[in-house]
Symmetry: C2
């Protein structure tokens, strides 16, 4: 598999112009703190002094994990497909937040162990990506809402057990990445928000963190959906064995194939395509950050496009952010996934752009400078 | 002056119902972290299991400070009125954020040393509160915008020098509080966002913190709009003298009158009225928190209604929040004031309510529970 090299978005002249623009706004120098760094980054990603976020795409990648059968999660695997239905019906947290922000929500079946069927004629089918199923969202929310779409990009009904062998084959991994790239390519807008659903996928994320950042698996393993201390111990023991099983893996993509899951490989493709197209990538929590960790291991310039929405309450996420040198926007103890943290942080990105575009300068507003 | 006692909003039955509702939503228990506590609080303030925020009022209280003449700020006092004009013209940060959120913005002249006039017939005049001046906001923003209003409630053109005596008389303080109460009473909606503008007002806030929380003034004094280290030293020395000058003050309102300013006294009235009416009060940064500190010293139940938007970069704010036992939502190093932090945090309150109102339960969505 060949992923295109990413362009370096360091643009000294534009960075200087953006900083000067921020510094001349009617506010004490630097007084918008982290929001100013965010505005600068968004300007650099979108290549303009007046960045405007357009048609944000909230993508929830879903897949099942063979390892889940070993009891690494507090919930049964059936919850993956049930939550996909919940996303489509408009009842999940991310559904509610997508409505709040008037944001398009696409749920991607990357490898859920369930047959969702294909409702209606395949009018939305687009070749190898498969068709889409649209659901009208019930009118529980106060806001007008684009309907949530199910996008069919299933590799297989769940990955293999990563304790017995790689979670997926090299070919499956490549196909999932290609699916993710094609999906983003087909979508409008200049920003993607990453979300995921997959019972067992905190295990995959913990494994990737321990493997790629060379950390002790115990420091990388948390309660996931709500394991108690004894169950976290058991989970850690299993993950230590899985890690050992694939200790000879060196390539980041081989690590992804070894540990899973299909939703993470598909997301990696989406991240890469978005990065290649200079879309803003808003990263959610532990699992989506693990995908960015893989991308970072391939080409660190991917981080130039990534905004980290929040520091999750899931053990390991703080370590992962530290490893990536990432400063998240929120720190609210969230540990839900689905893209919920990304959606919660989204208005801050809009604010950063609005400040850059619309605030007056000292000169234009006739406001005095420092004495 | 008599302020009405505030009702106790502890409602064990409602709190239990709200918690049960949150716990049955389709998400792992507690996985929305701080957002769940926020949802619970908003339900308790608004007295419902399905809270809905309506017609939020962003109020920017402006006033000048006699102490500013002693050089406690990096900017001249003229910046206060110039920024008021900037708020009204739509070019300030808070203007941009109010537009982003489609939020009504009222700028209150509580005691700015400038004559803003009264444009047009006084059709909006409402008795002792004075008239209002509406400004059409320029079409720089992408969103439809209610016009910003200037509300006339000037006590005097700036407070007296608090090093020479009280910043305001008891009567002035009482009038300012009455103005703030009448203003909120006249406004629709069930939420207020607090903002302020006043060159010199970080000094007043530092003084109130040191006085009411019995802290060393050096720990309470920061760079404000951007003093260098030497200037912060000089500011601290001046504030220490002011504090000493009013060391015999014991009553919280007398402390407010001693240290100022008019914008803070007017804001206190607004906070009290909002609290009395069970509106949600979204607190911004160092100065607005200082007003809540005064309110808290009078009746700690005011905190039941207060949501703290962020931890400011201004020295002293972390101490103040700690003294109040307050957990802010954001921590972005903001130190602008104007209500900008409150406006940035606002969507999180809307999200918390939406989660409580619109998310499906495990039962309603047919999602399996824990194994």
């Amino acid at each position: 598999m060949v992923l295109p090299a990413l362009a370096d978005l360091q643009q000294p002249a534009l960075a200087q112009a953006l900083q000067a623009k921020l510094d001349h706004k009617t506010k004490p120098l630097g007084s918008l703190g982290r929001l100013e760094a965010l505005a600068l980054q968004l300007g650099l990603v979108l290549g303009t002094e007046a960045p405007q976020l357009e048609q944000p795409q909230l993508l929830v990648f879903a897949g099942d994990h063979g390892l889940a059968a070993r009891g690494v999660s507090a919930y049964p695997s059936d919850v993956t497909w049930q939550m996909v239905e919940n996303f489509l019906a408009g009842g999940a947290c991310v559904s509610v937040l997508a409505r709040q922000h008037g944001m398009a929500l696409t749920v991607v079946d990357c490898g859920v162990a369930h047959d969702f069927g294909t409702a209606g004629p395949p009018q939305d089918a687009d070749g190898p990506l498969g068709g889409q199923r649209g659901h009208e969202v019930p009118s529980v929310g106060a806001h007008s809402t684009p309907r949530a779409q199910l996008h069919h990009a299933k590799i297989a009904p769940g990955t293999a057990d990563s304790l017995s062998g790689p979670a997926m084959t090299t070919a499956q991994c490549a196909q999932a990445i290609a699916n993710g790239r094609a999906l983003v390519k087909s979508l409008p807008g200049n920003a993607v928000l990453l979300g995921e659903m997959g019972i067992g996928n905190t295990s995959a994320a913990s494994l990737l963190l321990a493997h790629l950042a060379q950390l002790d698996i115990a420091d990388c393993t948390g309660a996931g959906t709500g394991l108690d201390a004894a169950a976290v111990q058991r989970k850690t023991t299993i993950l230590r064995d899985v890690l050992q099983r694939h200790a000879d893996v060196t390539d980041p993509l081989a690590a992804l194939a070894a540990f899973g899951g299909f939703e993470m490989a598909t997301m990696l493709g989406a991240v890469w395509q978005a990065a290649d197209e200079r879309r803003v990538v808003l990263v959610d929590g532990f699992i989506t950050s693990a995908v960015v960790l893989v991308a970072h291991a391939i080409d660190a310039r991917v981080l130039q496009r990534c905004v980290f929405a929040h520091r999750s309450g899931e053990r390991g996420h703080a370590l992962m952010l530290h490893h990536l040198g990432a400063q998240p926007l929120l720190d609210l103890g969230l540990r839900l996934g689905e893209g919920s943290g990304a959606a919660l942080a989204w208005p801050l990105l809009q604010s950063a752009c609005a400040v850059l575009r619309d605030m007056a300068s000292f000169a234009s507003a006739g406001v005095s400078g420092k004495v």
